[in-house]
């Protein structure tokens, strides 16, 4: 392989974006991320933005590039739902490897909680489903995920307590992070005692709906040597676009994470045993258990038991979602990437792992359909 891409800067904006438009949020985090990298807007010749449905937009990333006054040679708007952040990192790395550009910024911006509201966000996300064959039956997210959860638990003997253990572990991690949206510790009983949204998923099995804004800066390994912070290497990426229509999936207990992670690890030349920690998309507790197994961290049906035993705590065998993830930290998948980078740099704001070398980040969009895995390495 020729050029290698590195992450050289990032910034995560405030939890509350009330009163600000998505382009204002994006512009601010882009500038701060560039400052973190020791770069400025004049250096940017690539920009990716996406995961934006809060405000009308025809060409979101182009609009952000224009708003910033830049004239980049590579721009892409990512529309992969919750997989967009990881997909953008993968595409940005590819653009650098192929010399399409030198300095790329990846940005997400949302005022979904402060402006759109929870019901508005849930209504908007329902648009990923068929208005003809799914929505008329009262299908929306979370119930379509609950269909997977019911089948998964039935086939593999996983219990509600084991699902709840994921939320408990991640809340513990969030409690140690100064920027987390939810920091008060919870127990398995708290999860099981929270209202049932769509059985078997309780309120605390579901991720938060929050605002977010974040940006990540990538450049070539060569140029990264001059960066002001330790660069983080993009070792491998892989993606797959699994079936979106739930009724046509076939086996709901085995999804696209198998394919995307195999491709990413293969490209990185890394075995699953070499991964020190994981930041996995966590729309629901079921999403995490299913994905842990599909990626191959454990055998099918084992993740629930391991979660209950504490294997995914910061001091466990595989530290997982070390900032609390979307279940407790905040929505917006660049947080998974940024937490991984912070850990690999050795400067995480919350839970601090012992000199980790390899991180696996996994994003999911649609209904467990769009998958992207990114393997990152310390410099």
């Amino acid at each position: 392989m020729g050029r290698e891409a590195c992450i050289v800067g990032y910034h995560e904006g405030p939890l509350d974006n009330a009163g600000r438009s998505c382009r204002e949020i994006a512009a601010t985090v882009v500038r701060e991320a560039l400052a973190d990298a020791g770069l400025s807007l004049g250096d940017v010749d690539g920009l990716l933005a996406g995961y934006a449905w809060e405000e009308p937009s025809v060409m979101f990333a182009s609009e952000i590039a224009d708003y910033l006054g830049t004239i980049p040679t590579y721009v892409e708007t990512a529309c992969f739902g919750g997989a967009s952040p990881a997909m953008m990192i993968a595409r940005a790395a590819r653009a650098i490897e192929q010399s399409l550009c030198e300095v790329v910024v990846v940005a997400v911006a949302s005022n979904r909680a402060s402006k759109v509201g929870r019901a508005g966000a849930i209504a908007a996300l329902r648009d990923v489903l068929s208005t003809e064959f799914e929505v008329p039956y009262g299908a929306f997210i979370p119930p379509v995920y609950a269909l997977t959860a019911t089948r998964y638990m039935h086939e593999l003997g996983v219990t509600p307590e084991q699902l709840a253990a994921v939320a408990v572990t991640q809340r513990e991690h969030a409690s140690l992070h100064p920027g987390a949206a939810r920091r008060e510790p919870i127990s398995v009983d708290d999860v099981l005692g929270s209202p049932v949204i769509a059985s078997p998923l309780h309120l605390l099995d579901c991720c938060l709906v929050t605002d977010f804004g974040a940006a990540v800066v990538l450049t070539s390994a060569e140029r990264a040597r001059a960066a002001s912070s330790p660069p983080v290497r993009v070792l491998g990426t892989g993606e797959v676009h699994d079936r979106l229509t739930t009724s046509e999936v076939g086996d709901l207990t085995r999804r696209g994470g198998m394919v995307s992670s195999a491709r990413a690890l293969s490209e990185a030349g890394i075995s699953i045993e070499e991964v020190d920690f994981a930041e996995l998309y966590d729309s629901f507790t079921i999403t995490v258990l299913l994905t842990l197994e599909d990626i191959g961290f454990c055998r099918k049906g084992e993740a629930g038991r391991l979660a209950a035993e504490g294997a995914f705590r910061f001091d466990g065998e595989l530290p997982l979602n070390t900032n609390g993830g979307m279940l407790s930290y905040r929505t917006g998948g660049l947080s998974h990437v940024i937490e991984a980078v912070a850990q690999l740099r050795g400067t995480p704001p919350g839970v601090r792992l012992e000199a980790p070398q390899i991180a696996l980040v996994h994003g999911i969009g649609g209904v467990l359909s769009a998958h992207c895995t990114v393997v990152l390495g310390a410099a």
Partner: protein
């Protein structure tokens, strides 16, 4: 279900026979004339072999592959209908439908129970739904 969920519902030329079947209380699904496989939702061609599908009426019996009892109306239009059972039903013809199941206490719901199609008039549409067989 409720008319609010059908605001964006708009059958196409390809899918219309499915909905016209439901109007007659017949479950009408696409089957490929070449490879004989069923597919749902309907498409202009068979996504398995590229062949030409035609609509055939099926028995409308099957078993529950998975389900969820939706308890909370996270959207205002769902308030009048919670709780309801959203389910995936495996028909005898080896095709799976997303649907709702009526006529069972949510506590009686289970994977593997036998169900049979029924029909529910909702606003402009007739929806195939399922009940215990």
């Amino acid at each position: 279900m409720i008319p609010g969920l059908l605001e964006e519902w708009s059958p196409s030329d390809v899918s219309r026979p499915y909905w016209e079947g439901a109007e007659r209380h017949a479950l009408s699904l696409q089957r490929c004339t070449a490879c004989r496989r069923f597919q749902h939702p309907p498409r202009p061609f068979c996504i398995g072999c590229g062949g030409t599908p035609t609509f055939v009426t099926v028995r409308g019996t099957g078993i529950v592959y998975s389900y969820t009892v939706v308890q909370r109306a996270l959207l205002p239009e769902l308030r009048p209908i919670v709780p309801y059972v959203l389910a995936l039903v495996d028909l005898d013809e080896a095709v799976r439908l997303i649907t709702i199941i009526r006529g069972l206490n949510p506590k009686q719901m289970a994977i593997g129970i036998s169900v049979r199609v029924d029909y529910e008039r909702v606003g402009r549409a007739t929806l195939p739904i399922f009940r215990p067989a």
